[in-house]
């Protein structure tokens, strides 16, 4: 029963958040779009206040036709896809396990969730040095124990190594959300199916999995958005070398390392479009949920 006065007060209360986010969205976006149509090389003396040369869609064409573009797209897809498959599959199994009665459930939960709270630079460096280092890493000790030649993981198998690191960080997230979803499953339904003689596999396939489908979709969408912009894990492990340069990292290099702002901005626009395609699906689900 909102009165007119309380409605305008409500608008006033919303204004700061809305205005700030509007500025945060529009100003950088407009600038990125603007730069993407310009030749802008700050290291060669281009200054935005002196005016920049308009080059049309040249940056967009050059970004896509550079030899680094397609490999970076493929690398991005491998990393995002690999992490999604690992975290969702293991997450479902782990969530089902944690849902069972056991002793010390609270402690196990804490152990499983912990990696999510480790800052990305720490987890990347710990894995890089203490586990994956070819001389002193734990993996190399283990390999030598079995008489195998140690592998320098991050240079010889950079993508699987990065996928392992990122999966370790995101598995807790997937597990926690899937566990929340599993706990809302009606246990009577499962018991009834068991009474009727449904095998564990049938119960999983016909009851648990359909029940989880929405949570799985949400995990996939949210993780995809975060995984598309994985940065620190690559920055401190390989620095984009050994075929680990993702689209995000390529744009970062264009913009800040080689200071080709026009080209990098065109890449940024591609990244924004890509993220928006994923975002639309996520927003639909979230939006539907708001109504109920």
């Amino acid at each position: 029963m909102a009165t007119k006065a309380s409605r305008s007060a409500a608008r006033m209360m919303m204004a700061p958040a809305v205005i700030l986010l509007l500025g945060w969205m529009l100003i950088p976006l407009v600038l990125t779009l603007f730069f993407s149509f310009k030749k802008f090389l700050p290291l060669r003396g281009d200054r935005w206040e002196n005016g920049l040369e308009w080059v049309g869609f040249e940056n967009y064409v050059r970004f896509v036709s550079s030899s680094a573009f397609w490999p970076s797209v493929i690398t991005t897809l491998i990393i995002v896809g690999g992490v999604l498959v690992i975290t969702v599959c293991l997450g479902i199994l782990l969530a089902m396990l944690l849902d069972q009665p056991m002793w010390g459930q609270g402690i196990v939960r804490i152990l499983v969730i912990a990696p999510f709270f480790v800052m990305p630079t720490v987890s990347a460096l710990v894995w890089k040095n203490m586990f994956m280092d070819a001389n002193n890493g734990l993996f190399s000790h283990l390999w030598r124990l079995f008489g195998a030649e140690p592998v320098s993981w991050l240079s010889e198998a950079s993508l699987p190594s990065i996928i392992l690191i990122v999966s370790w960080q995101w598995l807790p997230f997937a597990t926690l959300i899937l566990l929340t979803a599993i706990q809302s499953l009606d246990s009577e339904q499962l018991e009834a199916a068991e009474m009727d003689g449904a095998s564990p596999l049938a119960r999983f396939g016909h009851i648990v999995l359909p029940h989880l489908s929405r949570a799985v979709t949400i995990v996939i969408l949210i993780q995809t958005i975060f995984l598309l912009s994985v940065f620190a894990e690559i920055f401190v492990t390989t620095g984009g070398a050994f075929g680990s340069r993702t689209l995000t990292y390529l744009i970062f290099q264009r913009v800040l390392e080689s200071q080709n702002v026009g080209l990098g901005s065109a890449g940024g626009v591609y990244a924004i479009i890509l993220a928006n395609i994923v975002a639309i699906f996520l927003m639909r689900i979230v939006g539907k949920n708001l109504d109920t």
Binding site: L21, S229, S265
Partner: protein
């Protein structure tokens, strides 16, 4: 008979869950253990697990050599400042959306969420340029504002879902009893909203503490928080595992402890109410 099978099943489940939990936690445990070793023990082959000469030397060395306290302080200011500022701006907004909803409330919430999906790298140079122009590159103020803006959608969403749970009938009852608007807010609403606000502060403090795109790209010597400090250990010279571990342990310990309190909020905060 049935009783015996359930007990046996429980034993197996417990063993499997503990083994997996231990494996997942192992890198963190190993880092903490290594931080108490000497550099020689840290890389010894075969590795030593518990039976080494425990030492606190690494912690002392890291503090002395790297001015660790300054990085810690930067992290506290940046994460704390951005979170508090974000909550101050978000509380009125979430409040009005929860209690005086209009036809556009849903659209505004979804639009706010959509700003969270903007890939940071897509707007890296404009933000970088704005920071240079304002003389805010490598400053804590810039990071406080940027991390606040990044997390603002999550903060608004979390608060909104918490405020939504406060039943409107209570407000009406207070009004019937003759409470003024001020009393209503102070004595009825605020106590009910505090748990939600606290949870929101907690989760967003953690998210801001661990943020590692803007903190790496917009700071150098002055304003660098712990994320950037740890990244400076990435050049592998000499024997440094124990010191890296000590520095890492100090950077993650406070957040691990806070994180254990915020498990539940994690689901709510990061799925935008889509999983309950």
């Amino acid at each position: 008979m049935a009783r015996a099978t359930t007990t046996r099943r429980k034993i197996i489940t417990t063993a499997a869950a503990w083994a997996i939990g231990f494996t997942i936690f192992f890198p963190i445990l190993w880092t903490i253990l290594t931080s108490f070793k000497t550099e020689a023990q840290a890389i010894s082959d075969p590795p030593v697990f518990l039976f080494f000469d425990w030492t606190l030397e690494n912690y002392a060395v890291v503090q002395e050599r790297s001015n660790y306290m300054r990085f810690l302080w930067n992290s506290v200011i940046i994460a704390g400042g951005s979170t508090v500022l974000g909550v101050l701006i978000a509380v009125p907004a979430a409040w009005s959306m929860a209690f005086v909803p209009s036809r556009r409330t849903k659209d505004i919430l979804l639009w706010m969420l959509s700003t969270k999906m903007l890939p940071a790298v897509g707007v890296l140079y404009p933000i970088y340029l704005i920071c240079i122009e304002l003389g805010l590159l490598d400053s804590r103020i810039a990071l406080v504002v940027i991390l606040m803006l990044i997390n603002l959608p999550i903060i608004v969403w979390m608060l909104y879902t918490y405020f939504k749970e406060i039943p409107g009938e209570i407000l009406e009852a207070a009004r019937m009893d003759g409470a003024s608007l001020k009393e209503e807010i102070l004595y009825v609403l605020t106590p009910m909203a505090i748990p939600g606000i606290a949870s929101t502060l907690l989760l967003n403090f953690i998210l801001a503490w661990n943020e590692a795109f803007w903190t790496l790209n917009l700071t150098a010597a002055k304003a660098a928080p712990l994320t950037a400090f740890i990244a400076s250990y990435s050049s592998p010279e000499g024997l440094f595992y124990a010191k890296l571990s000590a520095a890492s342990t100090m950077a993650i310990a406070p957040i691990l402890i806070l994180g254990w309190f915020s498990q539940k909020q994690l689901v709510r905060g990061l799925t935008f109410g889509a999983v309950k």
